[in-house]
Amino acid sequence: MAEKIITLFFLLGSSSYLFFAQHFAFGTLNSPKSGFLPILSGILTLLLSLILLYKQLRSNKKVVLDKVHWTKFIFIIIGLLFYVSFLNSIGYFAATFIFLFYLLKVADAAGWLMPLLVSFSSSAIFYLIFANCLSVTLP
């Protein structure tokens, strides 16, 4: 099922891409313009996703996938979204510390003191490496 949803997503994606690609001039073979490859690759992608979806719909084969901890997956995504949203406003050190601590707890790190220490020291080390050694301007 998941396989078909992904293929459907690609089908919709390539259809919208092709729709927007038509806004660019295709040109001629003598003088191809900026829409030349986008239109060709859009058509190709659309065709490939259609064939794949048709094949998947016709096939009775069930794809056996490894089990995934979906709750953990959702929690990690929430953490990632928090980090991306608040990095600029609360600054690199604070955001990284909170994010790391949160991820360690999501990843089942035992106790409170060890995750706190690991997140604090790692955030400080990363800050020193990137801001001081690599001269990156961090938020």
Binding site: H69, L87, A107, S122, L134, L138
Partner: protein, 502 residues
């Protein structure tokens, strides 16, 4: 003689303390990457790209190359000891390596694998030394039609050789080409698919895509996996000696594997993985005891392990001489080159001889270092399999995000890394191989440039474009591959309908 002198100068470059240290760090990280399941070569190089900013460009590239070929040495360790391949190229090693370990011959399997990797790795590097310069010289005569032909054939081969479904790989490559068209058009300067967002005018950065799809995607997969604990056998130094019989049976497969790997490495696709399968099949055919295969035949370890290392060196030939990556790992290596303002390709040897020959010489040194590291220190590396991933992975996540941010100091890039990360995770879950997407993105811009400029040069005549001697030769290979794929596809459908094995 000229090549020999240049290589000698390369050795001078590669033994400069900074470069030598980079080589040592690279091969150690590479070995760790190979050993630790869940972390692959592409994601590691992607994660380390930002760290290389402060480094000298030669040292940085020596380190990346070290990670690349080093990972294939380490990959066999987990295959042999716990039946879990650290790398896709080591899957075949499980077939006979693990049964050998169960029979108490893990040490012999590990040492044969390390020595085989060294022998074949050296064969590959010698081939790289001899072939890359003349190929680069020949490539100077290449025009847009030839580059179009190479890019197109690269994509065609790729759709067959990724190991997953041909259709899925082709779709991934086509999406990669689609993504490559986002941003300013190099010919007309028109902004495409940016929807008024200035950051999208730059297009999709290769390293951002790689960090997301491979880095964050891999982290998500590892952190959400439901693991079962595995016992790791103890390997002592004295157990590493193969018997005289094991030696005798391993030598020829090592050399055969080296040759097979080198030839496969010149083709687009995941050469290391394919060459290991081919070598296994070849060894089974050549063996006097084919029935032993699958139950602990040492040839089944020596051949494939040799082949995947030789293939790695061969994949550097199209990258260094043509500037074209034919697999995911060389695509990310290309990204490493570009971050340092270096464009691999025909002009690299003449414009940056110290870097080119220093890099090749470092591979000879790195290969020796890997043998030294992998034999006596194998016991220590095996202990690393006990690294708690629940502590390691959150830290790698922060490193990846910080690294992605630091490329352009852009929050926009960070958002894309997360989006690509989720996409990478979902692709893996649903059996789509993400490497063709990365290569499609890399080859896409060359394909477009070659196609549009080629058509202009040939006055719009596709026929004139594809019948130029070099492009015709390259395209013929592509047509044969495509025809073969189509015929096999129809045969498979036919067989499935008749419910017979083909």
């Amino acid at each position: 003689m000229d090549i020999f002198n240049m290589l000698l100068q390369g050795f001078w470059v590669s033994v400069i303390p900074g470069n030598l240290l980079a080589c040592i760090i690279g091969v150690i990280i590479g070995t760790l990457v190979g050993i630790l399941p869940g972390i692959d070569t592409v994601s590691t190089i992607a994660l380390l790209l930002p760290f290389s900013y402060g480094m000298d460009s030669t040292a940085a590239l020596i380190m990346f190359a070290g990670i690349y070929y080093g990972s294939k040495y380490g990959g066999s360790t987990t295959s042999i000891l716990i039946n879990v391949p650290g790398e896709a190229a080591s899957v075949v090693t499980c077939l006979d390596g693990y049964p050998m370990a169960q029979k108490g011959r893990a040490g012999a399997a590990l040492s044969v694998s390390a020595i085989g990797s060294f022998v074949a790795g050296t064969i590959g590097i010698v081939g790289l030394t001899l072939l890359a310069p003349p190929l680069a010289k020949a490539a100077l005569a290449f025009g847009p039609p030839e580059y179009f032909a190479i890019s197109l054939v690269g994509l065609i081969f790729l759709s067959k050789l990724t190991g997953t479904s041909t259709l899925k790989s082709a779709l991934m490559a086509a999406i990669g080409v689609m993504l490559s068209t986002v941003g300013l058009d190099s010919m007309s300067g028109i902004s495409r698919f940016s929807f008024g967002i200035d950051e999208l005018d730059r297009g999709f950065d290769l390293s951002i895509l790689a960090m997301g799809i491979f880095g964050i995607g891999e982290i998500l997969s590892t952190m959400t996996q439901i693991n079962t604990a595995t016992d790791i056998p103890l390997v002592k130094f004295k157990d590493l000696y193969p018997t005289r019989e094991e030696w005798r049976r391993s030598i020829a497969p090592m050399f055969r594997g080296g040759v097979v790997g080198f030839l496969v490495g010149l083709l687009p696709g995941p050469a290391a993985t394919i060459s290991s399968y081919l070598s296994y099949a070849l060894e089974k055919k050549c063996s006097k005891n084919p029935d032993e295969f699958g139950y602990g035949a040492i040839e089944g370890v020596a051949g494939p392990e040799a082949a995947n290392n030789s293939a790695i060196s061969a994949t550097m030939i199209p990258l260094l001489s043509l500037g074209l990556p034919f697999c995911g790992a060389t695509a990310i290596l290309l990204s490493g080159f570009m971050i340092h303002g270096i464009t691999p390709g025909p002009a690299l040897i003449t414009e940056q001889p110290a870097l080119f020959w220093g890099l090749i010489a470092s591979m000879y040194i790195g290969n020796v270092l890997l043998l030294i590291i992998n034999l006596p220190l194998i016991g220590i590396f095996v202990q690393l399999l006990k690294t708690p991933l629940h502590i390691l992975m959150p830290m790698v996540t922060v490193l990846t995000l910080t690294g992605a941010y630091s490329i352009n100091n852009s929050m926009f890039d960070l958002i894309w890394v997360v989006i690509f990360g989720i996409l990478g995770f979902l692709l893996r879950r649903t059996g789509f191989e993400p490497s063709p997407l990365l290569i499609g993105l890399v080859l896409g811009s060359g394909l477009e440039r070659g196609l549009t400029q080629g058509l202009i040069i040939c006055n719009g005549s596709i026929w004139a474009m594809i019948t130029r001697p070099i492009s015709a030769t390259i395209l013929s290979l592509g047509v044969i591959a495509l025809f073969y794929n189509v015929v096999r596809w129809f045969t498979k459908i036919n067989c499935a309908e008749k419910k017979v094995n083909c």
